[in-house]
Amino acid sequence: MEKVESVCEENVFNGVYKTHAKALYNFMYYKCGDVSKAEDFVQESYIKLWNNCSKVVFEKAKSYLFTCANNLFLNHVAHKKIVLRHQKAGAKHHTNENPEFLLEEKEFMAKLQQTISELPEDQRTIFLLNRIDKKKYREIAEIQGIAMKTVEKKMSLALKYLEKNLDTIHKV
């Protein structure tokens, strides 16, 4: 018989932290755009998980954490105007880099970031979970506790908004 893992056991709890902390942190960051707030939410969610470890089965720990963090976020900063400051990352793929191209790229990136910041909180979170964390819509729906159709709908709206705003700056 397979051993039932209990979140109350310290090594299991530590494992849950290792597996989900970063994703949870990103999720919170997309939502609130505040590094220290996101850290706080992660911390509080894990403390809540530990305190309720007997009531949360191991398989549900992840969704418990995300729901918990989401609730914390809603309680604290639901209506705060936020600005995301994304660091540019990723290797440079292009070999044909001339100054003009680089400038265009830079401009596009700036506009992209600004547009993402302008998105409503739910759309932005879904978009970034998909793009940065490479999460499928089903997984996002699960994390957010909403229907997959809703995720698709919100993603579609986000993409529409991005398309509209970035069309002008995009040069073929």
Binding site: Y25, K88, L128, R131, L162, E163
Partner: protein, 304 residues
């Protein structure tokens, strides 16, 4: 319409769920390069560094901080208090059921007591009497230390216990004297059963029994109808002198030093409870003993 369709393809493309046909179609759309750029550039975005270890440490410190109070062990677990309470209640009930009534008299005092069954007791000087109130009707047992006169109502066995022996009766009047080493029973009415370690007697009206220090037993007759001490004087019938001396001591709260005289003498007669000097004279002059008063409390007996 076109835009909406492309938007739908775009949405599904990002979820990697387009069929090969749909993918080809999507790639042909005029804005494909924009879509591609949005998709690629947005995935290049990065989130701020997440300090995993730092947050983990914070979680741990906060957890240990909140755990401490729960780890406090109570010095006395809660059940101890309930156990203590029940013990108190049990003891209370025990003592309530077992409580006994005590009577005692001091030097020269007498006390008339009516027992729950209307039996009467008159307690002579410097004596104590106790009995258990609980179930008195069925269990008439008294502890006596000293001298007392009993007028017993009919009923169950009436038992007087003393350190020397027990007296049990069946409705009668009798006197028990257990002062010092003396154990003297006088029966004034009915029948009395006397039992000591060495002797056993059934006394009828007018009979008396006495056990002395050396456990020798004496049987004698009495003429009185009531013990004389209840009438203001103490009566003795060929009693050992030390019994008389103890009676005097208890009656008048004095100490009598009899070391200089022969204590083996017997005394028949009585002494009054009203006047110490008269009492001393009546007891000792006939025996040719001179009671000389050292002070108010001490008397030395000297041979004349």
């Amino acid at each position: 319409m076109e835009t909406n369709y492309n938007n739908e393809l775009f949405t599904r493309w990002l979820n990697e769920e387009l069929s090969p046909d749909e993918l080809r179609e999507f790639e042909k759309s005029p804005k494909f390069s924009l879509y591609q750029k949005i998709a690629q550039k947005s995935s290049e975005l990065d989130t701020p560094e997440f300090n995993e270890d730092k947050v983990f440490k914070q979680i741990k410190t906060q957890l240990s901080a909140q755990q401490k109070p729960t780890k406090v062990k109570k010095l006395f677990p809660k059940f101890i208090f309930s156990a203590a309470a029940s013990i108190v209640v049990l003891l209370g009930v025990f003592f309530f059921l077992n409580r006994s009534t005590n009577y005692s008299t001091s030097y020269g005092e007498q006390l008339a007591i009516t027992l729950p069954d209307n039996s009467e007791v008159i307690l002579n000087a410097n004596s104590t009497l106790s009995y258990k109130t609980q179930n008195w009707k069925k269990n008439r047992i008294l502890d006596l230390n000293g001298e007392a006169y009993f007028k017993v109502e009919k009923g169950s066995d009436f038992v007087v216990e003393s350190t020397i022996g027990t007296v049990s009766v069946l409705g009668t009047q009798f006197n028990v004297n257990t002062k010092g080493t003396t154990f003297e029973i006088k029966c004034f009415e009915g029948k009395v059963k006397v039992k000591t370690d060495n002797h056993s007697r059934i006394l009828t009206k007018g009979k008396a029994f006495r056990q002395l220090k050396d456990t020798t037993a004496e049987d004698f007759n009495i003429q009185e109808i009531l013990p004389s001490w209840t009438q203001g004087e103490s009566n003795f019938n060929s009693a050992p002198l030390n019994q008389v001396i103890i009676a005097l001591e208890h009656q008048y709260n004095i100490k009598i030093d009899a070391s200089k005289i022969a204590i083996t003498q017997r005394f028949t007669g009585s002494f009054t409870h009203k006047n110490l000097n008269v009492a001393l004279q009546t007891v000792f002059v006939p025996l040719r003993i001179n009671p000389s008063q050292v002070d108010t409390k001490n008397i030395v007996l000297v041979k004349q």
